[in-house]
């Protein structure tokens, strides 16, 4: 095997011609919202910007669940169309957290692994921006080592009973449901990935307790979700019993390569440009951030193009997430060094607030969706080193 055959990044793609018109409509909508001061641009909005009105507005315009086929209420659009909408929302610092998981992950997963009844039940609400989801993967003793999950699913008459604890569940206190990864047969040390299953759990089910886990900022986004013999009907088993591991890992290329992996602090970069207006002497540092952003976006788009054509470039996606999340931190470094405005978590908006949120959210960037060290392990495997 020659290593030149290992594809670190798929070939470049161009957005379809119709994307320009779509982009213009999204920008016009965002400008309207900003003019009415309906929200202020914030950092890390896909974790922290919960705004159900905004999500419904997007749904009304057909900008959520865009790739979902028309029979389930979607537009049957290309992932590249969704890319355009998503990157515009993130760059604007718009509040996208409410629908984020449902739009990015749950919709495509339901299409891939869901039953017809599950699709009919959830997809129209996702498309409308009215049904919100969480992700129930991490546990107190299962972080990077996801196969160590202990939440137990026991077969009972007509369904399953789930007992265990999920943590770091963003938005669980608002969301309608989540996908829980649980152990449906006893742990087998020779095949740790076997015996895991996914369940669609409605978060108002009896036996579900949701407790806040405040972030560094003090804000409530994360939760602990405790199951005490929560009944999940057979119809709500997601995908195949025992195939949970395969299912959760099959969509990593979607999760890891999107624009949210390098745009979490973009509003701070834009604000930095505003602060540097009329000055000279910092063009090189600023230019480096902009060149890197341009390159990251082209990489991420190339992966979106590959995904749109049915490939799953997992290695390239890991690369984008490693580089992109480190880049989000580089913006913070530059924002501190080039402008002397101290961060102020109490400010209503503006540079001081963006910087404060960015600094306090930054540790999460290189953790969520697979730590960068784990991702580099994936890259190393792709290179043939392990």
């Amino acid at each position: 095997v020659t290593q030149t055959s290992v594809e670190l990044v798929p070939p470049p793609v161009d957005l379809p011609a119709r994307a320009a018109e779509l982009r213009a409509r999204v920008r016009a909508f965002l400008a309207e919202e900003r003019a009415a001061d309906r929200w202020r641009p914030r950092a890390d909005v896909w974790l922290s910007g919960w705004d159900e009105r905004f999500s419904r507005e997007l749904g009304r315009r057909g900008w959520l669940g865009m790739t979902i086929p028309q029979e389930y209420g979607g537009a049957g659009a290309s992932p590249l169309d969704r890319y355009v909408v998503t990157e515009e929302l993130l760059a604007a610092g718009a509040p996208v957290a409410a629908h984020w998981v449902a739009d990015r992950q749950i919709g495509p997963s339901l299409l891939r692994f869901g039953t017809e009844a599950q699709r009919r039940r959830f997809l129209p609400g996702i498309v409308a921006g009215e049904v919100y989801f969480g992700i129930g993967m991490s546990e107190p003793d299962a972080g990077s080592d996801l196969a160590a999950v202990r939440t137990k699913a026991e077969k009972v008459d007509g369904g399953w009973e789930l007992t265990g604890t999920k943590v770091w569940t963003s938005g669980a206190h608002h969301a309608h449901a989540f996908f829980a990864l649980a152990r449906s047969s006893p742990r087998d040390e020779t095949n740790r990935h076997a015996g895991l299953s996914q369940f669609l759990v409605e978060l108002d089910s009896p036996g579900v307790q949701i407790r806040p886990i405040p972030l560094l900022t003090g804000a409530h986004h994360f939760n602990e979700v405790v199951f005490d013999r929560v009944f999940v009907a057979d119809e709500m088993v997601f995908g195949e019993v025992g195939a949970g591991w395969k299912q959760v890992t099959s969509e990593l290329a979607f999760e890891r390569s999107g624009p949210e992996r390098f745009l979490s602090t973009y509003p701070l970069l834009a604000a930095l440009v505003g602060e540097l207006a009329g000055t000279t002497g910092h063009e090189r540092e600023l230019g480096s951030l902009v060149s890197r952003l341009w390159a990251l976006r082209r990489m991420s788009l190339a992966i979106a193009g590959a995904l749109a054509s049915g490939q799953a470039p997992e290695l390239a996606a890991a690369v984008v997430k490693d580089l992109g999340t480190r880049y989000e931190g580089e913006i913070i470094d530059a924002a501190r060094l080039l402008v002397s405005i101290p961060p102020d978590p109490g400010a209503e908006s503006g540079y001081a607030r963006l910087l404060a949120d960015a600094v306090l959210h930054a540790p999460g960037f290189t953790l969520r969706g697979g730590t960068n060290e784990v991702l580099r392990g994936i890259v190393a495997r792709g290179l043939g080193l392990r």
Partner: protein
Amino acid sequence: MSGPNELAELADSIFGDAAAAGDGFDGELWKTLEGAGLARVTLPEEAGGSGGTFTDSAEVLFAAGAHAARVPLVETDLLAGWLLHAAGIEPPAGPLAAVVGELEVDGDTARGRLERVPWARSVTGLAVLSGSQVLLVRPEQLDITDGANLAEEPRDTVLVDGPVAVAPAPEGAAQEYRLRAALGRAQLLAGAARGALNASVRYAGERVQFGRPIGKLQAVQQQLAIAAAEVAAASAAASAAARTVTAEGMDSPTARFAVAAAKARTGEAAGVVARVAHQVHGAIGFTREYDLRLVTTRLWAWRDEDGSDAQWNAEVGAAALAAGPDGLWPLVTGTP
């Protein structure tokens, strides 16, 4: 031209077969490239070229960089051939060199001194963009003092004194020249970065310490993954710039931005990749006896040629400031 994949494979096999180590111009490789139609990819057929796009030439330059080819491809195809042809001077056959510099021109004779001319000693003609004129100087009129870059590629000092072909320079030639040079150099850089990564991965799989290949050590894997990410960014940047220039033309603002960002990004990647490559190779890579130097010295040389990452980033930064906070995103996405 054939499809991008076939072209990449053809180029990879030709450059891979050529002996990378050695001194100076690789005449045999050049003949092979001419035979395969890869020496003048972007020039039109009437100028002895293959009529390909910048995307086609990018594939060739990636491979040339990865295998440290000792041939003036950027100079012949993207610079001298283009400049002469655009000015209405027929490009001579064979390898060409190009430079921007001031010569005293009197009728059809020219004199003066040109610094750090790539490959001057090895070419059949030197194209000079001197103010508003394009000159073709033949080797007989050149008095050459050898010089080199960090990779020992020829960067000669040239005294010109004698008859030359002269024509008015096409409009915007100076601007287009620097963009073409930066684009070609960025693609060579992306290729060399890939070459350094490949060599390092191979070495990490072979070199045994502590009873196993060092590539099995997580500390080494993490470093190689960081280098791979830089290689990916460099490749994406260089490919995207080629594509933008192919689609929009060299004189569009989008293309200018893309080329600037690509040369800056590939230049930034060069240092990281070379550092990791040498760290992984240990002492042997630090010697002249080992071929890693062929790509790492090129990374170090090329990142500072045709505009360093600092210079291009300064231009990108100035463009960002001019765009302002609301214009930055349109600038990055190329969609006003």
